[in-house]
């Protein structure tokens, strides 16, 4: 069946689960006594264990970043455009690790898991996670896989925040960082959008203060609205306009409130699909992690001071039409890295696709990202030849 997958795909992949029995102290003051992380790997870890690349996922992402779970899958993993043989993150060169974060709803310990203290589902009592908590848990996974130092930690959007956090929390364990369509902190407008999404979920009659599973209910309406709001911020005005314009579903106005414009139909469809595959408590928790991330805040607002532990080169990529995490947010990060005297490269990629551009094929983005990753591979090869004493 593998013949049916594209040649630049990692092909069929199987998720694995790692169980951690020692407690993980969290930023909120609580402790997870034990936890599980679901992850996938692509490519081969080299003998020096130096070619590992960690992929950090965004708000609604998960461990399945590339390849297919089943020969019948219609769609590959969420970042398949950039992970695979010969792609920007070349699985012929790198060993790629992609996990589902704690609090997620794709297999890692989260609100739908059983709280060992009560024997009941965590539900809304699952601790609110922070980006720092996630990075600590990811470091445990790296330990388990025998990875002392990642060749690169890479992430888009919320994933980019995790990559930043890695470079501050574990500078000795990361050789390169790439943050894509990310921001060093949310703006008031970003938090406002998240709050509307949370209110949509929390005011759904089927939410039951987060105990919907016990009632065998799903707050579908709230999740749908949350996704519709979020989705608007992922696209640019231009991409929505060129895709839907003012096109109508039928050829006339109905003077009613059913779906009339194509864009309404599209958003409702996106919301409906999302509401059946994503967990409401996870969505709330992920948006909180976004809101809370503010490394500068812990240093009197001085981002350069927060970044002072960084010991590796950064690649920062933004997209011209991204208004969720606008290019100016990436430039804030770049300027702080400059002020802190760190190595940093930056490009603002021309794309009409808004925030979503980080997931989509784009020749310029691909060329820059590939060049960065190839240099990392060059460094690894040079390191290997030096260690071998052949040159």
């Amino acid at each position: 069946m593998s013949a049916s997958f594209p040649s630049d795909s990692v092909g069929l992949v199987t998720p694995q689960t790692a169980t951690f029995e020692s407690p993980l102290a969290l930023a909120c003051g609580k402790t997870l006594e034990r936890f599980e992380l679901v992850f996938e790997t692509y490519g081969t870890l080299n003998a020096e264990r130096s070619n590992a690349v960690l992929i950090c996922h965004a708000l609604s992402g998960h461990h399945h970043a590339a390849g297919y779970h089943d020969a019948e899958d219609r769609k590959p993993g969420w970042w398949d455009a950039y992970i695979g043989p010969g792609k920007a993150i070349d699985t012929d060169r790198f060993f790629v690790v992609s996990l589902n974060n704690l609090g997620g709803c794709h297999g890692s310990t989260g609100p739908a898991s059983v709280n060992p203290a009560t024997g009941q589902q965590w539900g809304p009592t699952f601790p609110v996670m922070t980006v720092a908590d996630w990075v600590h848990s990811q470091a445990r996974l790296a330990d388990r896989l025998g990875i002392d130092r990642f060749a690169a930690v890479v992430g888009g959007s919320l994933g980019g925040m995790q990559a930043m956090q890695w470079s501050m929390a574990y500078p000795e364990r990361v050789a390169n960082v790439a943050t894509i369509a990310a921001t060093p902190r949310l703006s008031a407008q970003n938090i406002a959008f998240n709050e509307v999404a949370r209110q949509a979920i929390r005011s759904d009659p089927d939410f039951f203060d987060g105990w919907y599973a016990e009632r065998e209910a799903i707050p579908k309406l709230g999740l749908k609205l949350a996704r519709m709001i979020g989705h608007i911020t992922y696209l640019s005005e231009h991409s929505m306009g060129s895709r839907f314009g003012r096109d109508l579903r039928s050829d006339q106005l109905n003077f009613g409130y059913d779906v009339e414009f194509q864009v309404e139909s599209y958003l409702r469809h996106q919301g409906d699909t999302f509401s059946t595959r994503f967990d409401a408590n996870t969505y709330l928790l992920m948006t909180k992690a976004l809101d809370y991330f503010d490394p500068a805040g812990e240093h009197g607002g001085d981002l350069a001071a927060a970044l002072s532990p960084v010991a590796c080169p950064y690649l920062v990529i933004s997209f011209t039409t991204d208004w969720r995490f606008a290019p100016a947010r990436s430039r804030e990060l770049v300027t702080a890295l400059l002020r802190a005297g760190k190595r940093v490269s930056y490009i603002n990629v021309d794309s009409p696709h808004g925030h979503d551009a980080f997931l989509l094929p784009n020749a310029q983005y691909e060329a820059v990202f590939s060049s960065f990753m190839q240099r990392i591979d060059d460094d690894l090869k040079r390191g290997e030849s030096n260690n071998g004493g052949n040159h």
Partner: protein, 198 residues
């Protein structure tokens, strides 16, 4: 390496922290990092140049020089380099101020409009010069502020900027650099090393 870059390469001290404005494919910074342990950043707007820099391990920022250097602190670097970009800037004079704010010293290379072939072209044909160093037509050239070797020296005097070194050479790759004999007439490319006023 391009002749002007080869000369600049020789002028730069080991372990310097430099900023290269319009760094192109990163050839100069990569060679300086490899041979002289020079650190720093390149600024570039061409995506192919940026990709090439990344491949070479050169830290490169997409940044339009006309937007200034506001993201760099005073004295952020030891040296600022700018080759073949001065003539394309909206305000070359304010850029010179910016460069000398960010570093105490800078090196600037640009096409010398007073080169004898340009003079001949203009005086005999009565048309704007088109040459090896100025290959564009007047209507589509990015070079909006052409100047001469003497013009730049005059700007430095006017601003109280100290000229440490000056040289002219041909724009092609067999560089013979000199400033002794009629530089304003025989130099195709001008290079200045300047410092903040004493």
């Amino acid at each position: 390496m391009r002749a002007d870059l080869a000369l600049i390469y020789r002028w730069i001290a080991p372990n310097a922290h430099v900023l290269d404005l319009g760094c192109g494919d990163g050839t100069l910074l990569a060679a300086l990092a490899r041979d002289k342990q020079v650190t720093g950043y390149g600024l570039e707007i061409d995506p192919a140049g940026i990709a090439s820099c990344l491949r070479r391990g050169v830290s490169v920022l997409e940044q339009n020089l006309d937007d200034g250097l506001g993201n760099f602190d005073d004295d952020a670097c030891d040296l600022v380099i700018m080759t073949q970009a001065l003539q394309a800037l909206r305000r070359p004079d304010t850029m010179l101020d910016e460069m000398l704010r960010v570093a105490p010293e800078c090196i600037i290379a640009f096409p010398n409009f007073a080169y004898w072939k340009h003079r001949l072209h203009l005086s005999l044909r009565g048309r704007m010069p088109v040459s090896r160093s100025l290959p564009h037509a007047w209507y589509d050239t990015p070079n909006i502020h052409l100047s001469t070797f003497k013009d730049f020296a005059a700007l430095c005097r006017q601003k109280g900027v100290t000229i440490v070194d000056e040289a002219v050479g041909s724009a092609n790759h067999e560089g013979h650099w000199s400033s002794r004999h009629w530089p304003n007439l025989f130099g195709e490319t001008a290079i200045f090393r300047v410092r903040r006023g004493s």
